[in-house]
Symmetry: C2
Subunit: 323 residues, 2 copies
């Protein structure tokens, strides 16, 4: 199956790495809005200007869109779905219905297949929530994230005056996680579920107390959480915080009868969020290509994808090896 | 959707309990090979003789088959699939391809849909293995079972001369589980993965040393494991071991590149194996009924079922609530 990568940041590079482990998939090229001459791919794959993508109609089975959810994907996915089968990792939960409708209209009219909100959350975590809810309709879900780097929160810190660079780790509160794993169903506030650890490189002569206050009191991002701020040097940041780990856990507990309760958990511990997400997106591209050849057009999510379509293995192999 | 339960042991009663939590599903009746007059259902659902099932063609959308894998289902599922859409929990891993082929032939020719090997292993654990393999193709899977009651092993102990009753718990070895969860990929023998705890009620005057030796040395069942045998009274068995808990954990760890490794886990802790399995089978029946109305005929497994088909919620609700 022939694949294009549209957008070449951390996630695009993550998708690129996944080709090594998926020998049935071929990377045709990377499309960028930057000057292609300035972009060097890790694998040596060719780089093309984004506006030339249309010339690859017929040569690319599925285009994997590696833009951001805030401003890129709401425009990019419906636009590209007119010419290609596409996969994106749109993750602005509140706006998924709107994004879905726009992408569906664009893809359906032109006989393309689009899969939105793929990755791990939304993505594998969403699947875990769905299977758990179907298996145990009377119960309660919890999703914990971390310990991992939140790019959005790191960016928010970088916008504070006097901050040169920053890394924010989201950390689940151990006691809350333990209680939920044991099948208790506590009512938890944002503060009771997650801590926020901030590692900050201040500019020379900056007012550190003011920076710390600005971070701790920032609405939405930090004000509702127990937040720690640790100032470190640029060297320490580069040496100790270069990875982009992440992960988390989906837990559902509930009852099938008064006397019998059950706990289901799905957890991820990821050294590299973009590499793992990229690997999931490539498996999703496989399913999208297959669904399109079967005449399934329009927008879908992982909820609509038969699991077997994600796999390199045949139905017979899956039944004998993994069932 | 109108459902029949075919076979009324622990699992059949588990399915029956699940109707309370799935208000879109209606139990038409229970079919038994025993004398219907001798069977009293928990919910008060009517009981019919198994041989009258054919009279319910057109009144039952999906029949859930609650027979055993050793002798019941190999005959039952292909036979019933000629008249009904069916779900079974066939779990003899080595013979799944053969069972699949026979059920597929029976169901396809008559325009029915059959889903075999549903439940949690095979079932939800199989799905976890498939998703994990697709997301992380370069890695290694482990499945641990327990702590939970193995009916097969309990039955094997009951066949030892001098044994009146018994309960066998399969227990994962804590150190092995911990190592795998941490992303190590140890080579583990059967003995290094699971312990077997046996609680035995001996007949009066029986030779306990002989019983213990017979259990510990039993090939396939116990000889390859560290096995403990504890003699208890009939009262203790009834008081402390009436539940049928089970569970376990599927773990896959692997790499997306040389420097980045990932660990994925899916775990279940179940107070009642038959109630939870029954609840999963009822969700599967929902999917089977839907697939049949769409003209999808023949045998399938959970690998072929779009997750959304298992859920009571609509596509819109799933996307806004669980994605």
């Amino acid at each position: 199956m022939k694949i294009g990568i549209y957008g070449y940041g951390n996630l695009g590079r993550g998708v690129e790495k996944a080709f090594e482990k998926n020998p049935d998939m071929e990377l045709v090229g990377v499309f960028t809005r930057r000057d292609p001459a300035s972009v060097k791919t890790v694998s040596g794959a060719p780089v093309y200007p984004a506006e030339k993508a249309e010339e690859f109609v017929g040569e690319i089975d599925v285009m994997i869109l590696c833009g951001g959810s805030a401003t890129d994907l709401p425009e990019m996915t419906p636009a590209l779905a007119k010419n290609f089968n596409v996969v994106d990792s749109y993750d602005t939960h509140a706006r998924i219905p709107e994004h879905f409708a726009r992408v569906d209209a664009a893809a359906f009219r032109t006989g393309h297949t689009a899969l939105i909100s793929a990755g791990w959350d939304p993505g594998l975590f969403s699947l875990a929530r769905l299977y758990m809810n179907a298996a145990l309709p009377d119960g309660r879900d919890y999703t914990f994230w971390g310990r991992g780097v939140s790019q959005g929160h790191s960016d928010a810190i970088r916008r504070v005056p006097g901050v040169k660079d920053a890394r924010q780790y989201t950390v689940p509160v151990a006691e809350a996680l333990e209680a939920v794993r044991e099948g208790k169903q506590p009512e938890l506030s944002a503060r009771q579920k997650h801590l926020r650890e901030c590692y900050v490189v201040a500019e020379e002569g900056a007012d550190r107390a003011a920076i710390e206050k600005a971070i701790r009191e920032m609405p939405n991002y930090f004000a509702d959480y127990d937040t720690t701020v640790t100032f470190i040097s640029e060297e320490e940041l580069k040496r100790d915080h270069w990875r982009l780990p992440h992960g988390g856990e989906v837990i559902r507990s509930g009852n099938t009868s008064e006397e019998n309760g059950h706990v289901m958990t799905f957890g991820l511990k990821l050294d590299s969020n973009p590499e793992f997400t990229g690997s999931v997106l490539l498996a999703c591209a496989r399913a999208v290509g297959r669904m399109n050849t079967r005449g399934i057009f329009g927008c879908r999510t992982l909820f609509d994808v038969a699991p077997a379509d994600l796999s390199m293995l045949s139905g017979e192999e899956l039944r004998s090896k993994l069932l």
